[in-house]
Every structure is written in C-alpha cells, then in structure tokens.
Symmetry: C2
Subunit: 147 residues, 2 copies
C-alpha cells in the first residue's frame, strides 16, 4: 500500500507548503513508478506533458517530500540519488545478473528480525533498507560454460 495523493497533499498543507500543479505532477510521477527514479528521470517523464517545468523545482519538491518521510531517498552507485514512493510495510529488492544486467524483483526478505536487532543495538530508527543480490543468470552461465 502506498500513500494516497490526498494524504500527501494534506501532509504538505499541514506544514504550510502550497499545492502547486508542479508538485502534483511530481508526486504523481513518483507514485506511478515502481522503480526508483532519479531527479533527471522524473524531469524527463514530466517534460513530455509539462514542457515548462524546471529541474530545480523537482529537486526542491523531492527534498521536501523526503524530509517529510513520504518518499524514500536512496544513494546508489555513481553520483546519483533516486527516489521511490514509500510503501509502508512493503519493500522491494533486486536480483541482478552481473553479465547481462537482467533484473529480477522480489519482495520477501525476512529482514525484520535483523532490523529489530540492529535498531536495538544502535538506537537507530530504521526507515528502510536496500538489498541487492548479484549473480549470474542461467543464460549467461550457460554461455560461460560453453565459451
């Protein structure tokens, strides 16, 4: 389950932020996506319908949403950050083939116990996690064997 647009708008209004068409579009875009999106990717997607929008506005809005804990900010390889709607209780992970780049998603990760243990030990309030497995898919393994 994901936050509704209404819930997000209320949350923003409550803190004195205004609801602008740009912000609506940004929330909507992040919401539609089941993948993490970088600011640049969000910009590209929005630009098609909303040519006038500025990349700056996207940065600013994402910063606010992440600050309120409504979306989840993530830092992966390269110099890029990306954002995903926060799905309370559900999260999603990847299994990546290091040869061909195929990505398989999975959602069951059983990290609750570890999360509790870490949280207790470190006094962190844990908000999320990133889990990725890297390996070789069947096809690529067969190629390697053959070659």
């Amino acid at each position: 389950m994901v936050y509704t647009e209404k819930k997000i708008e209320n949350e923003l209004r409550k803190r004195g932020y205004k609801i602008t068409p740009q912000r609506r579009t940004i929330v909507n875009t992040v919401m539609r996506s089941r993948e993490h999106l970088t600011p640049a990717e969000i910009y590209e997607r929005i630009r098609q319908e909303h040519p006038g929008i500025g990349l700056v506005t996207i940065y600013r809005t994402l910063e606010i949403l992440a600050g309120l804990g409504l979306i989840c900010e993530m830092h992966a390889g390269g110099n890029c950050r990306s954002y995903l709607m926060r799905r309370p209780s559900e999260h999603h992970h990847h299994l990546i083939c290091s040869d061909c780049g195929t990505v398989i998603d999975f959602t069951d990760c059983d990290l609750g116990e570890l999360e509790r243990r870490l949280s207790k030990k470190t006094s962190f309030k844990i908000n999320g996690h990133l889990l990725e497995f890297v390996g070789q898919c069947r096809k690529c393994r067969e190629k390697t064997m053959a070659g």
Copy 2:
C-alpha cells in the same frame, strides 16, 4: 583481519598495475583508518607528508582498488563516496543515518536461507549481495524531536 600491504601489492602486480610511491601511501592511509574515508580526506591526510600528490591520483587508485575488491566503496548522504579496507570472508554491511551520514558497520546478515531460495527459484548463481539499512541515528532523532 584485513589484507596485508604485500597481498595488495601482489594483487596489483598480477594485473599489470605498477607499484608507485603514491599508491603505496594511499593503500597505507586507507589501511590505517578504521573509518570510511572520502577521497578528499585521504588527500588531506597524505598531503602533509607528500605535498606533491594529486587528488586525481587518489581517485584513480581508489577506483582500481575497489574494482579488484580490495577496498569497499560506499555511497552515503550528500554527494560523497567513501572507502574502507575490505576484510575478506566477512562481508560487511552498513547502517546509514540519512540526516548526518554516520555509518555503522555490521557483519551478521543471515541471508543464506533467502539466497538459497532465490537461487533455486530463479536459476541464478548468486555471487554476492549488498545490504544497507537507512534510518535516523539517536542524535538526529533527538534534534528532530526538539526542533
């Protein structure tokens, strides 16, 4: 246990990389530290003894070492990456504070069962994994409460 300088030099030589005084110093600096260091921090530490060294060289060397799996690259908040000596056989994971960037390492992850399950279901040969928890450390939580 951490890799020895000798082991690292051999690993480099084996791939045709040369052992230069700069590389020695960089390896030595990362090795001495029990903390993650950013390229800029490494630069600062080295500059005191080796004023001539270039930041570029540090970037280049870190890239090679990380590529060979001898050090561990980490992306935390802000636009910064940092590096830590790798401890073979342990794999090591991070708990990151999304506010201040503090990183806590841990090594117990209990993902063996999940790995087997995924491997069976997807026919992947799984070689490794990346696990990061993101949250808010005690100090930052207290600040948030107060503010």
